[in-house]
């Protein structure tokens, strides 16, 4: 039913904690908001970036449990309906995780795939939110927050690449 990784796929040791760390940082940042030119901008889609960039992990079970818990934490911190973000995170992890071997390492292909993930998450958030609160969620709010996530993606991707190069240099140094 689900192929999380094949035996031939390269695996980074201890990858789960990196994903968890990025998810924690982005979850905390996502509940902050900023007033730009009279419009309140939130970054609620930001943690989705961590799911999208989740490292090839050794322990998939730990990753799934972490993603479930952080989804619930985001629901609590954003005071939204419980379970919505957990289901969105898990769906993204399940659907786009299967193509992890195709996960682009350069910016533009990654950005294109990120837009696909965001559209999927928008539709899922709309439908799940509709089910949870009993009426249609505010579409402009969803779009503004998705736009904020699009703007933030290059920075997060760049920071991740920077951190990766630092970590690989450190590993080479030790070797």
């Amino acid at each position: 039913m689900m192929v999380m990784r094949s035996s031939g796929q390269s695996v980074s040791k201890g990858g789960t904690w990196k994903g968890v760390l990025l998810l924690l940082i982005l979850t905390v940042l996502s509940v902050l908001s900023m007033d730009i030119l009279g419009r309140k901008v939130s970054f609620i889609f930001l943690p989705l970036t961590a799911i999208f960039l989740w490292p090839r992990m050794e322990n998939t079970v730990a990753s799934i449990v972490s993603i479930l818990l952080f989804g619930l934490l985001l629901d609590i911190l954003s005071a939204g309906p419980l379970g919505v973000w957990s289901l969105i995170f898990l769906s993204v992890f399940l659907i786009f995780g299967q193509h992890r071997r195709l996960k682009p390492q350069t910016f533009f292909p990654a950005f294109r795939l990120w837009l696909v993930v965001l559209v999927f998450a928008l539709v899922a958030a709309y439908l799940l939110g509709w089910f949870a609160i009993g009426r249609r969620p505010d579409i402009p709010s969803l779009l503004y927050q998705a736009a904020a996530a699009i703007v933030a993606f290059p920075f997060i991707f760049g920071l991740r690449q920077f951190a990766r190069s630092l970590l690989s240099d450190a590993e080479k140094g030790r070797a």
């Binding site: 030119l37 911190l77 419980l82 957990s86 709010s141």
Partner: protein, 302 residues
């Protein structure tokens, strides 16, 4: 090796199915009801509030830069408008002082002193996180029950009413904003005293609902809390009436589009209903009303 991979994939599949079931159960259980795990939510908010307060500081500084640019660009015309307003207000103040004297005299003659029910005490706090999301409009403030904040207390900014406290932990409190879907506030027109309910709909322009046929509401009316029900004090400024494209009357909130950093909470005590009559009768009926009031407050209706 292959056997280990198969076991790992099976464990992942089972975990994924279980995770979906757990998240689904939470979603269905939480639907339309009082939030599950409210103690966990309060605990998580209390734990994260200091970190959010710290992280929000650079963002507030950045907001200040944006606001500074805007303010400078319209400083001259604002200065002129403020001067005009000052001249008008000086005259108004003289009138108000005269009216106050007259009112005090009438109250003395009648032996009545209705007073103003807006508390003089204010509890200052910072709005460390504000969510204007598609599902909910709320904020987290970094003061809680240790400072005297309780569920239902009104939360203000310098511009007007911001919302009311939904739940209070020891060091933080969750505020339900006026635009939230679950927010229902009893309001009145400052001009005509006409009453209505301000019903949030997760948009920037909450609706004026339950308007009587003969109620005199007009575009441009200033909207204040009516104090009906004794849950919020009377006279807190909320916004201005506008006509929506759909023809409904909506309210442009005074706090919309303004940066929210510092807020204050009025420790306003609910007007209590009598527990029992002088004769000690009807005790059960009154208890029922108290429960109804509590249930109403839990559903986000102050």
């Amino acid at each position: 090796m292959m056997g280990q991979d198969t076991d790992s994939t099976r464990a992942s599949t089972i975990t994924m199915i279980m995770a979906f079931i757990i998240a689904g159960v939470f979603l269905i259980s939480d639907r339309g009801s009082e939030r599950l795990l409210s103690q966990t939510a309060t605990g998580a908010e209390t734990g994260i509030a200091p970190a959010l307060a710290l992280l929000s500081r650079p963002l507030r500084t950045l907001e200040g830069v944006f606001t500074g640019f805007q303010d400078r660009s319209r400083a001259v015309e604002e200065n002129k408008a403020l001067r005009d307003e000052l001249y008008t207000l000086r005259e108004e103040r003289q009138r108000a002082q005269l009216m106050e004297m007259k009112l005090a005299r009438f109250e003395e003659i009648l032996g009545a002193n209705p007073g103003i029910d807006i508390p003089t005490k204010k509890i200052a706090a910072r709005a460390v996180s504000e969510i204007n999301g598609p599902f909910v409009r709320s904020a987290l403030i970094n003061a809680g029950s240790r400072k005297g904040i309780e569920k239902g207390h009104p939360v203000m900014t310098v511009h007007g009413l911001f919302g009311h406290v939904l739940r209070a932990g020891p060091h933080s409190a969750r505020v339900l904003k006026l635009g939230d879907l679950n927010s229902r506030i009893s309001v009145m027109s400052a001009r005509s005293q006409a009453r209505a309910i301000l019903a949030g709909d997760n948009s920037d322009l909450p609706l004026l609902a339950f308007i009587e046929d003969r109620a005199d509401w007009r575009e441009g009316d200033k909207v204040l809390t009516s104090g009906d029900g004794g849950v919020l004090p009377q006279g807190l400024p909320i916004g201005v009436v506008k006509t929506h494209d759909s023809g409904h009357l909506v309210v442009e909130l005074a706090t919309t589009g303004k940066p929210t950093d510092w807020v204050w909470v009025y420790p306003y005590a609910l007007t209590e209903k009598p527990d029992k009559t002088d004769e000690g009768e009807d005790e059960v009926g009154t208890e029922g009303q108290g429960e109804a009031q509590t249930a109403s407050a839990q559903a986000g209706t102050p």
